[in-house]
């Protein structure tokens, strides 16, 4: 179901920037018309949903350069959850892309990225919060809607006893956050575009928690949060 052939080096000026991000670009052959679940998450809204082992899960950046703050939990033990550090340590690379195994704190593979038309995704920049916005931008920004509040709202509604203890460092799908040789963390212009997507295969039963980022203080999304689509396909027979 998944094409293993990487997209060849771009030839048009329009996507010439893709040359700089390596050969991780892989398209999926899954047809959205065959999906078992489709949902558009509006800007600034959370989404929480179970994904069964073997199912395929795609996130589509509908309008481009949207940050999709994402966490995964082992459905059978929520204390066993996505670990940014274990994931980058195990693959020896800070960027998530095709082939990346999303590793849990207990060392198990929760999902594997099987297709990616964006090329790299961040897992160092974390989620915005009222409190971190006060530090980063201004104390009077406390009131502005933030991802960590969306995470908390979704966990409260999920009603399984989860709390802020269950919000570790997350993935920022479609965000470009390079580290420089002198140890600086930079927030670069997005490399995503309308319709780009990332697709994962669940290697375990997982719970997915997303905050479709409402950040209005950061140029990374052109100060314009936009909707994204989540699509799930059944496991291969």
């Amino acid at each position: 179901m998944i094409s293993s052939a990487p997209i060849l080096a771009p030839t048009t000026a329009e996507n010439a920037n893709l040359k700089t991000i390596g050969n991780n670009l892989v398209q999926s052959e899954l047809d959205a018309a065959q999906a078992i679940y489709r949902h558009v998450i509006p800007a600034g809204e959370p989404w929480i949903h179970e994904i069964a082992k073997g199912q395929f899960f795609r996130i589509v950046d509908l309008q481009g350069n949207q940050a999709v703050d994402t966490l995964f939990y082992n459905s059978h033990d929520y204390a066993d959850r996505y670990s940014a550090q274990d994931t980058i340590q195990q693959q020896g690379n800070i960027y998530l892309t095709t082939g990346t195994k999303l590793i849990s704190t207990a060392g198990t593979t929760l999902l594997t990225i099987v297709a990616d038309t964006c090329g790299r995704h961040d897992t160092l920049g974390g989620a915005c919060a009222n409190e971190s916005n006060m530090v980063r931008y201004a104390i009077e920004k406390r009131h502005m809607h933030a991802c960590r509040s969306s995470f908390l709202k979704a966990l409260i509604d999920w009603d399984h006893g989860m709390s802020k203890r269950d919000i570790p460092a997350n993935i920022n799908f479609f965000m470009n956050v390079p580290v420089t040789a002198d140890g600086k963390l930079t927030f670069e212009d997005g490399i995503s575009e309308p319709g780009k997507y990332v697709e994962m295969r669940a290697d375990a039963d997982v719970l997915c928690l997303i905050s479709n980022c409402p950040q209005l203080n950061n140029p990374c999304n052109a100060y314009n949060p936009t909707p994204v689509e989540v699509i799930i396909w059944a496991a291969e027979p």
């Binding site: 340590q89 530090v135 460092a169 040789a181």
Partner: protein, 238 residues
């Protein structure tokens, strides 16, 4: 408050786990006695441990992927847990995480307590979890950690590489507690350490009383974000 000489000091053995509540207004100096040490560390607000060290908030507030003098470690609540007030090493790794049992067995095989007594092989994750459990904390409280004395470089393609020889014998880093901070430490090797031998190093820890951060404190003025971080931390105590 005045500065004091060391209130107390202790040797943390190689591969050991260790914890202490650093009181606001004290500083903890870690010294790498032999060189090539590694200290895995996570910090919590002792009064409310659901507030804890947050790697992404620390990195993005200061636009850094390393820690050294002038930088601070943020909690997830916009407050500063500890500030780096002295550092002879220049680079401490906040990215690469810690080892687990599978990694240690793959790299070094295993050595049990029954075989080698207290030199048995330990790993970072179990060390954190055991020490956390002593304070009533558990796997849900295990978050991204810092590795003092170790350096990991990242190239333009995102590849991470451990830099051997980052910390020399006698290298030190000093952390000033800006809150009452539960410090959970271990001295297990860095997970990306290419050393083929299980060879964790001892670390000396010394606690002293220090002056409150002045208006021109180097961590406070290193960037505007940290100025606001100190304001928010000081308000917590008012």
């Amino acid at each position: 408050m005045t500065e004091t000489s060391n209130l107390w000091e202790e040797l943390i053995q190689p591969g050991a786990a260790w914890s202490h509540v650093l009181k606001r207004g004290t500083a903890m100096r870690l010294t790498d006695l032999e060189g090539a040490a590694n200290v895995g560390a996570i910090f919590y607000n002792f009064e409310c441990p659901v507030e804890r060290y947050n790697m992404p908030d620390t990195l993005k507030a200061q636009h850094i992927a390393r820690l050294t003098k002038g930088f601070v470690l943020y909690s997830d609540m916009g407050r500063i847990l500890v500030s780096v007030i002295a550092d002879s090493v220049g680079w401490h790794d906040p990215l690469a995480g810690t080892s687990n049992r599978q990694l240690i067995e793959r790299k070094y095989d295993r050595a049990t307590y029954q075989e080698v007594r207290n030199a048995y092989y330990k790993n970072g994750r179990d060390s954190f979890l055991i020490e956390l459990a002593k304070w009533g904390l558990g796997p849900r409280d295990l978050v991204a950690n810092v590795n003092f004395f170790s350096r990991v470089d990242v190239d333009s393609d995102g590849r991470m590489s451990f830099v051997p020889g980052n910390s020399k014998p006698g290298g030190y880093v000093e952390l000033r507690a800006e809150m009452n901070v539960l410090a959970i430490l271990h001295t297990c090797q860095h997970p990306l350490d290419p050393n083929p031998k299980y060879q964790p190093k001892p670390v000396h820890v010394a606690i002293r009383q220090v002056l409150a951060p002045a208006v021109d404190d180097s961590c406070r003025i290193s960037r505007p974000e940290n100025g606001r971080g100190f304001v928010l931390t000081e308000r917590y105590f008012l």
